[in-house]
Each structure stands twice: as C-alpha cells, then as structure tokens.
C-alpha cells in the first residue's frame, strides 16, 4: 500500500523538517510580535491602541492564503522586496521560506495577541492598581505584574494557536516552500493509483507531530495555572 515510499525522490524527512522549521521560526516571531501587539492594545496611548486594534482586525480576518501569496507576488515579485541575496544559488528557496515565515508571523501574531489579551483580563484589576500605587510605570506593570500571570493563564489557548500554525504551514507550498504539502502534491501527481495511501500517510505524520505537542502543552498548562 505504501510501496511508493521506496522511491528515493520522495524525501519525507526533509519535507517534514522544513514544516517543523517553518513552525518553529514562525512561532517565535509570532510570540514576540503578538506580545508587543497586546502591549499596544492595552496601553494608555490612544494611537497605539488604535493601531493594534486595526492591525489585529485586518490580519485576523484576511485568509492566510491571501497573505502568503501577497508576500510572494506582492512584496517579492512586484515591489522587489527580497529577503535573500538574489545572486546566491539558493536565493529562490531561501526567499520563499523567509517570506512564508514573515506571512505566518503577521497572521499568527494576531491570534497570539488576542489570546494574551484574554489572559490579561483574568488578572484582577487590583493587581495593576497595587503596582501603580507602588510607583511602577506602565511597562513595568505590564512586564513584571500582569503579563507573567496572563501567560500562565493562556498556555492552553496558545497551544491551540501553535497547533493551528503547524497545520497552516501547509499553505506555504503555494509559494514553493518545499514542505510537506509540496511533496504531497508531487506524490499526488505521480502516484495517481494510490492517492488514498498518500493522503493517509500525510495525515498520519501530522497527527504524530501534533498529538504529543498538544498533550505536552496541556500538561504544562495544568502545572503553570494560577490558582485563584
């Protein structure tokens, strides 16, 4: 049933390694950018609040495929913004990978931001008031008092965002990032007589990747929970 796997052209490990790398870099970027965004969203400066609100609402409601294709066709092809040296022998592949990571960060950060904002809402107002009474400024209140508690409250929702991101990375194939779903379209093209096995195979590997991740982060969420 899976005898097509003996074909050396199908490098399943490489393809899924690219998927994992995409997820890893995008997750880190999205966590950082999402935290900055949530800081803006709850800040006392109206223009920052406005910017973050508009940003989150625009990118959260734009289909991911549109964002990813825009990074390639819009940013790279049309505006000429490239993220890799154009004379290097792997410039196209590097550029596609980095553009995809950029697209995923732009998109996923909105969900990180909204998860964190719900976490901030779980922190009692008295905590922030007490911190301000001690003379801490806004950044200190947020960074030392509120966010540490907020993060511990939203590990489970953030795990969901991470799992969604891992599955979303399959979209990167539309701009030619050599990850799992690009290999899948190659297999679908060649192995027309065993389509079912191809789909089952990729579904299985994704389950193998996602399931432990979900279990682990669920356990961490339980451990880190703030008892109120």
């Amino acid at each position: 049933m899976f005898d097509f796997l003996s074909n050396p052209d199908y490098n399943l490990v490489d393809a899924f390694w690219t998927t994992i790398q995409l997820t890893f870099f995008s997750a880190i970027g999205a966590l950082i950018w999402g935290t900055i965004l949530v800081g803006m969203r709850v800040s006392p400066v109206p223009i920052m609040r406005g910017f973050a609100t508009v940003y989150v609402n625009i990118f959260r409601n734009t289909p991911l495929t549109v964002i990813i294709i825009f990074t390639s066709l819009g940013l790279s092809s049309t505006l000429g913004i490239n993220l890799a040296a154009s004379d290097s022998p792997t410039s196209l592949a590097d550029n596609a990978f980095r553009l995809a990571v950029l697209g995923f960060i732009v998109y996923t950060a909105t969900f990180v931001c909204e998860s964190l904002r719900s976490g901030i809402n779980t922190v009692p107002v008295g905590q922030a008031e007490a911190a301000r009474a001690l003379g801490l400024n806004f950044v200190q209140v947020l960074g030392l008092i509120v966010l540490p508690q907020a993060f511990r409250a939203v590990i489970a929702p953030l795990a969901n965002v991470l799992i969604a991101l891992l599955k979303n990375t399959t979209v990167a194939s539309v701009i030619g990032v050599a990850e799992a779903s690009l290999l899948m379209s190659t297999m679908v093209e060649n192995e027309s007589d065993s389509l079912f096995s191809v789909f089952i195979l990729f579904a299985l590997v994704f389950v193998v990747l996602v399931l432990p991740l979900g279990l682990l982060l669920g356990w961490v969420a339980k451990k880190a929970e703030v008892k109120r």
Binding site: V174, I175, L182, E189, D193
Partner: protein, 284 residues
C-alpha cells in the same frame, strides 16, 4: 427533556442529510455511467458530461461570459458530435489535474479532454483514446530575452517557474537542478505574473500551454521552441471501454482529416507564433 429533543432533531437532520447526499451521489453516477459503454450512453441519453480545464488559455478556458473556448474544448465538441450529441447536450465539468482519474472512475464525467498526458501509471486506472496531440515541455521567456535558447542554456543561476509538484517541475528538478533555481507556485498564471515583472527568467511546462499564455500577452512573451520531452495528450475514458475508445479514436481521425483539427489549433494557439505540429499517430 429539552436536551433529548435537541438530540432527536439533530438525528433527524443528520439522517436527512445522509439520505440526500446518498441520493445525490447515486443520481450523479447513474447520470453518467449507468452502464459501461460510452457509445451506448451517448446514443440513449443524447447527453454527455465532459471534463476540461477551466483555467488554461488556448486549451480549455471558461470565459467571463460563461462559454468555453480552446483546442481541448473543440476536440471534446467534435468527439461528442461524432457520438451523436449536440453542443447543447454537453455538460462541462472542471477536471483539475489531480482529480482526473477519480472523476472518470466514479463516473462523474463521460470522458476527459484536459491536457491529459498518457502515462503507464494512469493506464492502471483509466483508458486513453488518442493521442490527439503531442506536446513538448518547453520554455517561455520575455520577448527581449536572447540568452535562453533551450534547456542547455539554463546555466548561470537562471530562475525558472513552474507549478508545484507538476511533472514539468519534477523534470527540471531531476535534470537541470544544478544550474537552475526553480520557483514553484500554485498556478501557471502566477508564473506569468512573475515572468512579466522580471522576478523569474523563464517558465516551463508543455509548449502548447505556454503558447496559450503567449497568445494572451501578444508581443510580451515568446516560446523558445526547443521542446525536450514528449507528452502524448489523450482522451481519458473509463477503463476497459473498448468500444468507447474505438469511437473516440475514429472521431479524432475524422477531425484531423477534415481540417478542423488544424483550424482549431491555428485559432487558439496560432497567434503566439506557435508552429502547428504534425498530426500524431493514434496508439492502438
């Protein structure tokens, strides 16, 4: 009490949904493949469902006004006519590359004319009439480009575009990977965009498909004209339908002989400067 009512309603809705989809699937397949023989079906129903590409200029294109044009469409119409089905009796169905075998096997289409290359692997699932056309993998470049003259000239870090996972893309990867970088995108039109604005140097797939794009952008793009593979386009049919295959082959021969084969190619891909090739020999 209320919860059980919700459950009951849910069950009824589910059952109804299942029944509906079951009916839908049943009538869909009986419409196209009540029995195995294409010729008999065409004769009895005076109706055919034909799979074509909807997004392939020059070959199979759904136009904004809802009509269909292209060489594949003309071939399909000609075969239908020879089977006794008028144009009004044809239902066009989009046959995307990855779904073609499945559409035929499930009987959702009677036959497929959609740049469908005859390969041994596909013969395990479907039968092929024809070939009605032999295409060659080729390169499309901007009209002012002079340094790409064929696959051998793909040196010096050239950038090439094709559709992800497609056979032409794989060919390039296995044969020319050392000298050329391949950008894989979702659709050929994305390649055309990148080619026109200069972010890639060439795009590759079958020459007749490229000619369709060149004809859409007159004066801006040109075919290199050094084909480096043979792609035999066939008409995909249900497996083991020998009568259907014979009838399709007869229709293709008639089309080639009465001149409408060449005329269709001339109008659909001729404007790009594409040289109309010789008529292919039909495989037994």
């Amino acid at each position: 009490m209320r919860f059980s009512r919700v459950l009951q309603t849910g069950a009824v809705v589910m059952a109804a949904g299942l029944a509906l989809t079951a009916c839908g699937g049943g009538s869909g397949s009986s419409g196209a493949s009540g029995d195995k023989n294409l010729v008999q079906r065409a004769k009895d129903n005076k109706k055919l469902t034909i799979g074509i590409k909807f997004d392939q200029p020059g070959l199979g294109l759904k136009k904004p006004d809802g009509t269909y044009a292209g060489f594949d469409v003309d071939v399909a119409k000609y075969i239908a006519k020879q089977l006794g089905v008028e144009e009004s009796g044809i239902t066009w169905k989009e046959a995307q590359s990855a779904q073609r075998e499945d559409l035929i096997k499930k009987g959702e289409v009677d036959f497929i004319v959609a740049t469908y290359s005859i390969t041994d692997k596909r013969k395990n699932d479907v039968s092929f009439g024809g070939p009605y056309f032999i295409a060659h993998q080729d390169l499309l470049v901007r009209s002012d480009n002079t340094d790409i003259t064929g696959p051998e000239s793909l040196t010096g870090n050239k950038k090439l575009c094709s559709v992800k996972g497609s056979t032409p893309a794989q060919n390039v990867k296995t044969k020319y990977a050392k000298e050329v970088q391949l950008q894989e995108v979702g659709k050929y039109t994305d390649c055309v965009t990148s080619l026109l604005n200069g972010s890639v140097d060439a795009m590759t797939t079958d020459d007749v498909i490229l000619a369709g794009y060149a004809a859409q952008q007159p004066g801006k793009l040109k075919l290199v004209g050094k084909g480096f593979t043979d792609e035999n386009y066939g008409v995909g049919l249900k497996k083991d339908d020998a009568d259907g295959k014979a009838a399709v082959n007869k229709a293709i021969q008639a089309m080639e002989q009465d001149g409408s084969w060449e005329k269709s190619l001339q109008t659909n891909v001729g404007p790009s400067g594409y040289k109309i090739p010789a008529v292919p020999t039909i495989a037994p």
